[in-house]
């Protein structure tokens, strides 16, 4: 695929000091926008994508030719209404949809970075994306919104830039990656590393891809995005195009076939090394530790109006972890609303057509936008 085509890129000239100690400059930040910026420049919403997302939030993704990852929530007349708001989304650094990442060439060695790429953090991602505000001449965003890793970026953004957004909507996320979260990410990384093709990250120079390992990583992760009830209802023990068990190791069950499919389509659009880097960034995310054990301090300087949303069946970033953010915000008297949405679709709920969720998101944004003095 030719990914350079159709991709808007901002070259960030300003040096960015990464958490790992290295400084990068003149690096590409790929982004996409939807809707139009009004004259007052007060209708911009910065959307942050999750682990395997990209800047193509809605409409047809020009690279994968599939629907954008948040098509249910973003678009004309939708919760994040592109007739009303100017939506910006950037591919995170470390990603593989045009932004500076491990599949880029190292100008010093003229070789693809691979695992020579610096380890990046959620903080680095956010600090890279702040450059988009200057680029568009936006003094203050109307909102910063994101689910999962996108929600982590929302929290980090407000903590780093307390006066750069009027509202903040972290969805189905956490302020600190749990041992269970890290464990699942490590499983994915080890699956990639166990694929012989991975070649210690140097697969590009050999023109091969660790597709088996990456597919297994995706399959494992995909299970964590769903709920037991959701899986049982959708698949149960239904068999895949056969009347009975075949006493072998082909995909007898529909759930096996489904996971294999999810794994196979993922390797076509995602870079294995990016998967390592981004999961690492999530694991390193600990906003509580950044503020010496007091999460409230992350938010003490902000006047942003928060709306936290969690889902009943999300066991990856459960309601309690979202509520911990609410508690930290209340402790500093921040303006925070919270709702837990009833859904049996698991962590993936935020990406799906869950009417109660989409309604809450729309109402919060539209009512907040109507409040002029915010």
């Amino acid at each position: 695929m030719n990914i350079k085509q159709n991709i808007k890129t901002l070259i960030v000239e300003k040096p960015l000091k990464l958490d790992c100690g290295q400084t990068i400059n003149n690096f590409p930040l790929a982004y996409e926008t939807y809707g139009s910026l009004n004259n007052e420049k007060d209708n911009a919403i910065l959307v942050f994508h999750a682990l395997t997302g990209d800047q193509f939030v809605t409409g047809i993704n020009p690279v994968t030719k599939k629907d954008g990852w948040w098509s249910y929530a973003v678009g004309s007349g939708k919760s994040i209404d592109t007739d009303k708001y100017f939506v910006i989304c950037a591919n995170v650094i470390g990603g593989c949809m045009g932004s500076f990442g491990p599949s880029h060439e190292n100008p010093k060695t003229k070789k693809i970075y691979g695992t020579d790429f610096p380890v990046i953090t959620i903080n680095d991602m956010v600090n890279a994306q702040i450059n988009l505000l200057d680029f568009f001449g936006i003094k203050k965003l109307f909102s910063v919104v994101g689910g999962s890793m996108g929600g982590m970026q929302v929290l980090q953004f407000i903590s780093n830039y307390p006066d750069k957004a009027k509202t903040a909507i972290p969805i189905a996320c956490t302020s600190s990656h749990s041992a269970q979260n890290i464990a699942f990410n490590e499983l994915g990384r080890q699956a990639i590393a166990a694929d012989h093709n991975w070649s210690d990250g140097d697969y590009n120079s050999k023109n091969i891809v660790p597709d088996k390992g990456l597919a297994v990583a995706r399959m494992a992760a995909h299970i964590t995005y769903l709920s037991k009830k959701g899986l049982q209802e959708k698949f149960g023990r239904k068999l895949q195009e056969r009347d009975d068990l075949k006493f072998g190791f082909d995909a007898d069950f529909q759930i096996e076939s489904y996971l294999r499919y999810q794994g196979s389509v993922f390797v076509d659009r995602f870079d294995a090394n990016s998967y390592l880097y981004i999961t690492r960034a999530m694991d390193y995310f600990d906003l509580v530790k950044q503020f010496n054990g007091n999460l409230s301090d992350a938010f003490k300087n902000t006047k942003a109006k928060f709306f936290i949303i969690s889902f009943t069946s999300d066991w990856l970033y459960p309601t309690q972890e979202n509520k911990d953010i609410v508690i930290a915000l209340n402790a500093v008297g921040a303006n925070v609303g919270f709702v837990e949405i009833e859904s049996d679709k698991g962590h993936d709920s935020f990406l799906l057509n869950i009417p109660d969720f989409l309604k809450a998101l729309k109402n919060f944004l539209d009512k907040s936008y109507a409040e002029k003095n915010l």
Binding site: K305, F307, V326, I327, N330, A331, G333, N335, V336, G337, F338, V339, E340, I341, E342, D356, K359, A360, N363, F364, K367, S368, A370, E371
Partner: protein, 198 residues
């Protein structure tokens, strides 16, 4: 709109910071926002009601007052309002103490179980009272700790909080409750409204 909302509003100073505990569909919050320009937050246990509040642009947290008030630091609010829900809590004593910890003052309203209709019901019918303000049967009522206006006044002495102002609602008219008319108000008041302090 419930008749006591106007009374509650009169007890609250302009521009105050207010928490409405059990804010329901946000009617009182909106009323206070418009009339008193208060900075108001709500906490509500029902997801549907929270959604209604969000649609009205109100800042509401889904939660249970019995467990979720502890997240607020001391004196976070000028006023904390608890409208007709004290009787539904497992431990009203803890709730009152929490209200007065997070708020400087609290406004508590209680449906009066000492009202003559209630007494009449039990005395002559011999069944648990079902009235306009207490519409549930004994087996499906959320109200597990009913009390009378007199009980609440006694409660203030037992768990040691000050009643700053006490009012009774009788046929949509409001009147002061004092020591000399307590027996009368406890018989005719449908609702007791109390402004309390630590």
């Amino acid at each position: 709109m419930k008749p006591e909302y106007k009374i509650i509003s009169d007890l609250i100073e302009k521009d105050a910071k207010v928490l409405d505990v059990g804010c329901d569909d946000g009617t009182l919050m909106e009323f206070l926002k418009t009339n008193k320009n208060v900075n108001i937050r709500g906490i509500e246990i029902s997801k549907e009601k929270v959604q209604i509040c969000i649609a009205k642009g109100l800042t509401v947290i889904e939660g249970n007052a019995e467990f979720d008030l502890k997240q607020f630091p001391n004196d976070s609010f000028d006023y904390v309002v608890l409208g007709q829900t004290l009787q539904a809590f497992i431990n009203p004593e803890i709730v009152i103490k929490e209200l007065l910890r997070v708020g400087n003052k609290a406004i508590v309203t209680i449906p009066n179980f000492g009202h003559w209709k209630v007494r009449f019901n039990l005395l002559f019918k011999g069944t648990m009272p079902v009235t306009n303000s207490l519409p549930h049967d004994w087996y499906n009522t959320p109200n597990i700790h009913m009390c009378t206006i007199k009980d609440f006044v006694r409660f203030s002495k037992i768990i040691n909080f000050k009643i700053f102002k006490s009012l009774a609602l009788i046929n949509e008219n409001i009147s002061d409750i004092n020591n000399s008319n307590l027996i009368f108000k406890n018989l005719f008041g449908e609702l007791g409204i109390f402004l309390i302090e630590k």
